[in-house]
């Protein structure tokens, strides 16, 4: 599991996750991911296109991120999840409290 910073400006933090967000994959990046999100005072976009699997531990990490940003009135936008991952996000109700987008321009617009 890898975490890459694609863009880090005053207006936006753009991260990319790659690999399976199962128990071990989540453990590998959870602390760094949440630290980036917790220190962010701007919206965050997470590119999920390379995430191959999303289990409950990964969902917990995503909800922690949503709540962390929610406290600062900032948004988390999830970009381009694969169909199986999108299905899990929808099943868990993530779409009710965060934005899921399949277009980068749309994601950037909705993040701000």
């Amino acid at each position: 599991m890898t975490l890459t910073i694609l863009e880090d400006t005053n207006d936006l933090l753009f991260l990319e996750l790659a690999g399976p967000l199962d128990i071990s994959g989540t453990r590998e990046i959870e602390t760094r991911f949440l630290a980036h999100v917790a220190s962010a005072t701007r919206p965050v976009i997470v590119d999920l296109s390379q995430v191959t699997f999303l289990a409950s531990f990964g969902m917990r990490m995503i909800f922690d991120a949503i709540k962390s940003l929610d406290r600062k009135a900032k948004k988390l936008v999830m970009l381009n999840p694969q169909p199986a991952v999108a299905k899990v996000l929808e099943l868990g109700g993530v779409n009710e409290v965060a934005v899921i987008s399949f277009d980068e321009a749309d994601a950037r617009a909705k993040a701000l």
Partner: protein, 454 residues
């Protein structure tokens, strides 16, 4: 400890005496007759030096802290050798016992506890090499250090003894410094080994106790699951936690004469923490103890659970749940989901082919976010239908080649084909195990099948 106290007193007195010699005594105090062939000056100087040396030795000897004290078995057929060794040992603060031959030594070692054996190589009846072999072959004695005692011309035998597991050797006649050093080193090693064994024993005891407690907790979790049912519905299930304690739980019970609740929840993760939350939540549902909640309304139940089990207050854990209420009169199920996979209703289509209907009414994971509203939906239940309620561990199955079972293309068709089998929960469990390539799944497995009356 009294020997040690005496030794320290002697040492202190010796140091005081040395100080007096160095400050107050001069050559003039030693007037030696010249008949001994020395001048009075050289003779006095020699005496002075010898005295200084003797006292320094006494002082330094007392500063050599005795190491680990132990109980030592001295094995030698020569009484005078045994006496010398015993005197040395007792002077160094050790306790000792004596054996005059190998056979007696083995008997004593099996009856009493020792920390070290000083073993003569050459003895009648049973020699030291044979005794060493028996000690090292005995699991209860093999860790006991053995120092071989030998004459200088027995070095070949000593080499064999070292190869056979002897700790060290001492040559006769004994050098007190070597004797002290080797006994000290052997006892220290033995002491470390004993401590290590004690720690290991404590770890094993703790592990055993934890395993017993886990087994007891596991039995408790299973005891909270309802027994299979025959009338008026036939309900069967399969439950297979991936560790000793799982995060899944489920239940069913009558709410009133015409409403029957069925529910399955899945706490994120598994293990003790997940099991505790799982049982706590299932007991709340079973006992109907959520405030201001109508348990006939699944949406209210999920909202109440979400308020009661916010993850910040429950070790950062949430759970998913499917909750349905079957209305016996209306022949329908009212259901809601908190992040849980849809239940499936197997029913016959008008042309007689079995199809599945997804009882899907998506809602957020329970405990993830505060103040969440859920919604319920109602689904009609035709005659001869079968309801399947299960967790994601029933279908999120990885194959040995790391590809995953496909829900739509594999799991659903399997249920359509085999859903009428009398014990479909066990059939599904056996099938996913074969897909996984192992009987040990990576997530908890729970699957309930419920038949509705005609």
């Amino acid at each position: 400890m009294s020997d040690l106290d005496d030794l320290e007193k002697i040492g202190a007195a010796a140091r005081q005496l040395l100080e007096m010699i160095e400050t107050r005594l001069t050559n003039e105090h030693f007037k030696t007759p010249e008949k001994y062939g020395a001048t009075s000056e050289t003779s006095a100087s020699l005496r002075d030096e010898r005295l200084r040396t003797a006292v320094r030795f006494a002082a330094s000897a007392s500063e050599l802290k005795p190491g680990v004290a132990g109980r030592v078995l001295v094995v030698d057929d020569q009484p005078e050798n045994r006496d010398v060794l015993v005197r040395h040992l007792e002077r160094q603060g050790h306790r000792s016992a004596q054996a005059e031959n190998g056979r007696q030594a083995i008997e004593m070692l099996r009856q009493e506890a020792f920390d070290l054996v000083l073993l003569d190589v050459a003895m009648p009846e049973m020699d030291g090499y044979t005794v060493l072999g028996q000690v090292k072959a005995d699991p209860t004695l093999r860790h006991l250090p053995v120092i071989m005692i030998s004459a200088l011309d027995e070095i070949e035998t000593v080499v064999h003894c070292i190869q056979a597991g002897a700790e060290d050797f001492l040559a006769k006649p004994f050098n007190p410094t070597l004797l002290r050093a080797r006994i000290g080193a052997s006892l220290e090693k033995k002491s470390f080994r004993d401590q290590e064994q004690a720690y290991l024993h404590r770890i094993e005891e703790t592990q055993k106790r934890l395993e017993e407690e886990l087994s007891e907790a596991s039995r408790y979790v299973v005891s909270t699951l309802p027994p299979p049912m025959r009338e008026p519905f036939e309900i069967s299930w399969a439950y297979d936690p991936s560790t000793e304690l799982g995060g899944d739980s489920f239940g069913y019970h009558w709410i009133d004469d015409s409403h029957f609740a069925i529910y399955l929840l899945d706490v994120c993760g598994h293990g003790v923490g997940a099991a505790l939350l799982s049982v706590a939540a299932i007991n709340v549902i079973r006992s109907g103890s959520l405030p201001r909640t109508d348990f006939l309304d699944p949406a209210q139940v999920l909202s109440g659970l979400n308020d009661a089990f916010q993850m910040e207050n429950h070790n950062n854990m949430f759970f998913t749940i499917w909750y349905g209420v079957y209305d016996l009169v209306a022949r329908s199920i009212r259901h809601a989901s908190g992040g849980h996979p849809a239940a499936l209703l197997l029913k016959s289509s008008p042309d007689g082919i079995d199809v599945v209907e997804h009882l899907r009414c998506p809602g957020m994971l329970v405990g993830a976010m505060p103040a969440i509203s859920y919604k319920s939906e109602t689904t009609s239940v035709p005659e001869n239908s079968r309801l399947f309620v299960f967790c994601d561990g029933a279908y999120e199955i990885a194959r040995p080649d790391h590809t995953r079972l496909d829900f739509d293309d594999e799991f659903i068709p399997f249920l359509v084909r085999n859903g009428r089998n009398p014990n479909v929960p066990q059939d599904v469990l056996g099938w996913v195990r074969s897909v996984h390539g192992s009987d040990v799944l990576t997530d908890d497995f729970s699957f309930i099948a419920m038949d509705f009356p005609r």
